[in-house]
Amino acid sequence: MPSLLEYIPFLIEGSLWTLSLVALGLSLGLSLGLPIALMKFYGVKLDAYIWFMRGTPLVVLLSLLYWGVFPSFGVELGPFETSVIALGLRSSAYQSQIFLSALNSVDSGQIIAARSIGMRESQVVTYVLLPQALRISLPSWSNEYAIMLKDSSICFALGVMEILTRARYISVATDSALLPYLLAGVLFFSLTHAGTGALEIVYRRVKIKGTLGG
């Protein structure tokens, strides 16, 4: 029986999958979530989408896309791509709420002032709303990274071998129920800490003294 130590590279290889899922999922969530937040801010009704995406467990969404939606439209996407889309769609709903609350916290007087000096609505968004809202949302946005990092383990339902699945395999292969998970925990902990730490640095670099969240 191979020892636990020999499995460490195997476990670490799983973090490539995990990080890849998270980077793509977060990007997709960001590129959908911000427009959704803006649309909601301007009164477009998107509640149904957000209810659905926030209310369904990830594994349901994964199964629905992979075995229901995509085949019925004749789209052939692999498990990895489907996982990214499911993570991204769900994250877009969470992220839109983060951005919406940041947009709402921008003082409405500023918007009125911007309009009164003749700014078009697109200029209000790019020069007044977004620069502040994105900064404000950064600390709560880093939560999204930490959450998705750990949620991505559910993607093994479609055969994507990320960290936790590997830990389970190692647990079985070495007849030990504790240590492999402990190792996976350390790995998750350092990945979470590295990511949120990096975002913390970004936050400190971009924040402006005297403004909201600064």
Binding site: P2, L19, S20, G25, L130, L158, S171, V172, S176
Partner: protein
């Protein structure tokens, strides 16, 4: 700021794509549901689905390749016909759907032949027989009936055939509490440290496990068997008649050769 937002977005996509590219790729399955109905032309590649959660039938090696009794059997079958095998780990809870969908072509992963499963997927000839067992700590002097009516915890692996057995016993009116855990290893661990008074497991897992772990073997004993023996078989899609015929032919040949006993011995299943 918007420029920066786009830059961050692009960076995320780039990092994700680069990581996705860096991962060693496995050959994709064609998602063709009846590709083995008739003899295929050219080289045959079989995508072999398993959940490496079940020693000694399927276990993961540190290099990411599976080993085990079932893996050896599949390799020997492939060797006989010159097939190429692609290993594809898959979650046990969705593995049948994956087979139907064409993500994988066969399941050989200690899969019990049941009437329920064979509505959806078709099995080869059975190749291994096991029986469910109730295991307790060696010092426990109670009888099978006393344990099952003790109101104490009995551990099982969630979703396994032992789990079904526990449900069946509870439905029949026995009084115990079920402790569902992630694997048989975890269930036995619970028995050893006293969180459960007994474990329902199967001989196919237990006997090799106790051979590998003599220390644990001294501390537990099999109190009795539950029900009739069950069998493992290799699952294929109903349409893939050619593949199933080939597997059956190879299995029969293998089981009638001395090699079969060697394999059983190698994995502690004799």
């Amino acid at each position: 700021m918007v420029g920066r937002y786009i830059a961050v977005l692009l960076l995320g996509l780039l990092v994700g794509a680069a990581l996705g590219y860096a991962i060693p790729k496995q050959e994709e399955c064609l998602l063709e549901r009846s590709k083995f109905s008739n003899p295929p032309s050219g080289e045959v590649t079989i995508v072999y689905g398993f959940d490496a959660n079940y020693p000694p039938f399927t276990v993961m090696q540190p290099d990411g390749k599976p080993v085990g009794f079932d893996v050896d059997v599949m390799n020997l079958i492939a060797e006989k016909y010159g097939w190429k095998i692609v290993y594809k780990p898959w979650d046990w809870s969705t593995i049948v759907a994956a087979l139907e969908n064409g993500d994988i072509d066969v399941i050989a992963s200690g899969m019990t032949f049941t009437a329920e499963r064979s509505q959806k997927i078709w099995f080869s000839v059975p190749y291994y027989t096991y029986v469910h067992q109730l295991v307790v700590r060696s010092e426990d002097k109670r009888s099978l009936d006393e344990i099952l009516n003790s109101n104490e915890y009995i551990a099982v692996q969630v979703g396994s055939t032992a789990d079904k057995w526990a449900d069946k016993l509870l439905k029949a009116g026995y009084k115990f509490k079920k402790l569902g855990l992630d694997s048989y290893v975890a269930a036995l661990e619970a028995l050893l440290d006293g969180r459960a008074s007994a474990v329902i497991t199967d001989s196919a897992f237990l006997e090799p496990y106790l051979k590998r772990n003599p220390a644990a073997a001294d501390r537990v004993k099999v109190l009795g068997n539950l029900g009739a023996p069950k069998t493992y078989a290799i699952a294929t899609r109903p349409q893939d008649k050619w593949l199933r015929d080939k597997i059956n032919e190879a299995l029969e040949e293998l089981m009638n050769s001395p090699k079969w006993n060697e394999l059983l011995r190698k994995w502690g299943l004799d």
